[in-house]
């Protein structure tokens, strides 16, 4: 029974997250723990949103990874904030625009991957430079405040639970069902396990991969939109830390980098874990050097613990 729990792909990330909370409470008391968990839920939401997209991409097989997430976030947030220009009446327009831009970015990414036959890792790296340039050209790094109602939503809480976290939990639940129950979800998994077999089985591999890259860009767009709303405007460097974080969250969460296997609940565990890990090391008052080293060792420790049991 216990062995069975250990084997669950999402177990270790959640285990790590809980361990961090315990460590923080041990150092600074129970009241601190509640505050930290609430903050973790909020900031974890941003990780989870991009990680869902990255997970879908990674699931489609080795070599598939989207490096354009940070610059997509920046571009979409920059354009949306400027178009809304702080007016509450424009929120819907801004959100729609963000989604459309996400679709365009995803399509552009896949076009480069498919037509030019460039490995995704290089293709998305190249396009990310172009998106970054577009964002610079469009608004020169000026910060425009989000509409007030949108800002209130992004920072708002009910019973200590951030609205954004609730929305993201629902989004994660929907994506969980999509992966498990829909033709699209099953196709993604099948392609990741064996693209040739999937093609022979009648799956339109290109269409599924296109949808996957587009979904990933759309999720980046949503994340960028709400991150800018949350932090009071878009910044050119707002997406920077989401590049490595999105990959780390996906893999620590139990998704296989070899493709063909994904896991949504694990994303939440991993996102909370990543946030809490940094918080815990901050709470302990360590210098930057030891903090970085510990972060690295703990990531390796988690992946070691998680993968040692099965296979």
């Amino acid at each position: 029974m216990i062995a069975a729990i250990f084997r669950l792909p999402w177990f270790w990330s959640w285990f790590g997250a809980v361990l961090m909370v315990v460590a923080i409470i041990a150092v600074s008391g129970g009241a601190a723990g509640a505050g930290v968990v609430s903050a973790a839920l909020l900031f974890g939401s941003f990780f989870v949103i991009v990680a869902i997209g990255q997970m879908l991409v990674i699931t489609t097989g080795p070599g598939n990874v989207d490096l354009s997430i940070p610059s997509s976030m920046t571009l979409v947030a920059t354009v949306a904030m400027k178009v809304m220009d702080g007016s509450d009446g424009m929120i819907l327009v801004g959100l729609l625009l963000a989604l459309v831009l996400g679709i365009l970015i995803g399509s552009a990414n896949y076009l480069v991957i498919r037509l030019l036959n460039i490995p995704p890792i290089i293709a998305t790296l190249s396009t990310s430079f172009i998106y970054q340039s577009l964002a610079i050209w469009y608004n020169r790094g000026l910060r425009i405040k989000p509409p007030e109602a949108l800002g209130d939503f992004a920072t708002g809480k009910i019973l200590g639970l951030p609205y954004l976290a609730i929305a993201t939990i629902m989004l994660a639940a929907i994506m969980h069902v999509v992966l498990r129950r829909t033709v699209y979800g099953q196709s993604v998994l099948a392609i990741g396990q064996n693209a040739r077999a999937a093609r022979l089985a009648g799956i339109n591999v290109n269409r599924v991969r296109y949808l996957t890259y587009t979904l990933c860009a759309v999720f980046s767009a949503i994340c960028g939109f709400f991150l800018a709303a949350f932090s009071g405007g878009a910044a050119l460097n707002m997406g920077e830390e989401y590049l490595l974080a999105s990959i780390a969250v996906v893999v620590i969460g139990g998704t296989s980098v070899a493709g063909g296997f994904s896991n949504v609940p694990g994303l939440w565990g991993a996102a909370l874990f990543m946030f809490l890990l940094v918080t815990m090391l901050n709470t302990f008052g360590l210098g930057a050097g030891p903090r970085l080293i510990l972060t690295g060792l703990i990531i390796i420790g988690v992946i070691l613990a998680a993968s040692g049991r099965d296979r």
Binding site: G63, S126, Y131, S133, V251, V257, A258, L297, I299, S307
Partner: protein, 312 residues
């Protein structure tokens, strides 16, 4: 026999063609570049990139990916500028220790069937952390012999060109021509077959990772010889550059299909791309985007030539 050699030959030829086109464009825009002095200036920073690309190539060859090579090279540069300069013996020991860690990582990844992306992602924090502790503020000084080696001005042919050719040929002969090299590469193509014929996959992976660690160390040392002092963040960019370099050079992510000569050419192409853009004097808004566009164009060129060839 000819059928086996030809495709491989062609794969090494393609990167060379794109390099030649890029060089021609540079000489056209900036004739001053077409000189001993010009080539030296444009290419000397390609040496550490080429070495890091070779390191990444060893990892890609066994179907893994190293996301830590940039911070590893940074650490090596920091060690070279501090320990290796002050107490050479301790410096050599430290570098050897890091290479041993690389070998251990390779073995661990194979033994526990771990995703190399995550392990190396974790290691990138570890290397960076050690580098920050070793050199909290940028500084240190490159040992004199490294400095004089990297600023060598041989007659007729600029040093970076000689160094690139030496690196490419040495690795090419060792990996592509020697019998153990064939086994190492085979591990990426068909691990099971290699294992069945009595080779230990753990040992092969450890060897490949150790080689990567060794060339990463060379890269850091070469880099510090050019910059004269180090910085914990000095080479973080090498992670993506080295991957791009291997791919530009005709390597692939799976199947042990790599080419050392191509990797060196890929690294040089990437370096020259920067020069090309700088000579174009673009509006600053677009300088970053143009870098992306050039990468796409160079790779698209490769696909185009590939397709034309297939049609024949």
């Amino acid at each position: 026999m000819r059928d086996i050699i030809n495709p491989r030959l062609f794969r090494t030829l393609l990167p060379a063609v794109s390099l030649a086109i890029l060089l021609a464009a540079i000489f056209y825009i900036q004739p001053r570049a077409m000189s001993y002095f010009g080539l030296n200036l444009m290419l000397n920073l390609a040496i550490p990139i080429a070495l890091a690309t070779i390191a990444q190539m060893f990892i890609l060859c066994v179907n893994d990916l190293d996301l830590s090579i940039g911070s590893y090279v940074s650490l090596m540069a920091c060690i070279a500028a501090t320990l290796l300069q002050e107490t050479p013996l301790l410096g050599i020991l430290a570098i050897a220790g890091c290479i041993a860690v690389y070998a251990a990582l390779g073995a661990l990844i194979q033994l526990r069937n771990l995703p190399s992306i995550v392990v190396t992602l974790g290691m990138s924090f570890v290397w960076l952390g050690i580098a920050v502790m070793l050199l909290p503020t940028p500084g240190g000084e490159a040992p004199g012999w490294i400095r004089s080696l990297m600023t060598l001005k041989p007659a007729y042919v600029p040093f970076p060109i000689i160094a690139s050719i030496v690196i490419a040929l040495v690795v090419h002969i060792a990996l592509m021509k020697s019998s153990y090299g064939v086994v190492l590469r085979g591990a990426g193509g068909n691990a099971r077959a290699v294992e069945r014929s009595g080779w230990s996959m753990v040992r092969i992976k450890a060897t490949m990772f150790a080689l990567a660690g060794f060339f990463g160390a060379l890269s850091g040392i070469a880099l510090v010889g050019l910059t004269t002092s180090a910085d914990a963040n000095i080479a973080l960019r090498y992670t993506l550059l080295s991957i791009a370099g291997v791919i530009l050079g005709g390597g692939e992510f799976v199947g042990g299909r790599v080419s050392p000569i191509g990797a060196v050419i890929g690294a040089i192409t990437l370096t020259l791309t920067g020069s090309f853009l700088s000579f174009l004097r673009l509006n600053p808004d677009w300088q970053i985007g143009a870098q992306g566009a050039i990468l796409i164009i160079v790779l698209a060129l490769r696909v185009l030539i590939n397709r034309l060839e297939a049609r024949k």
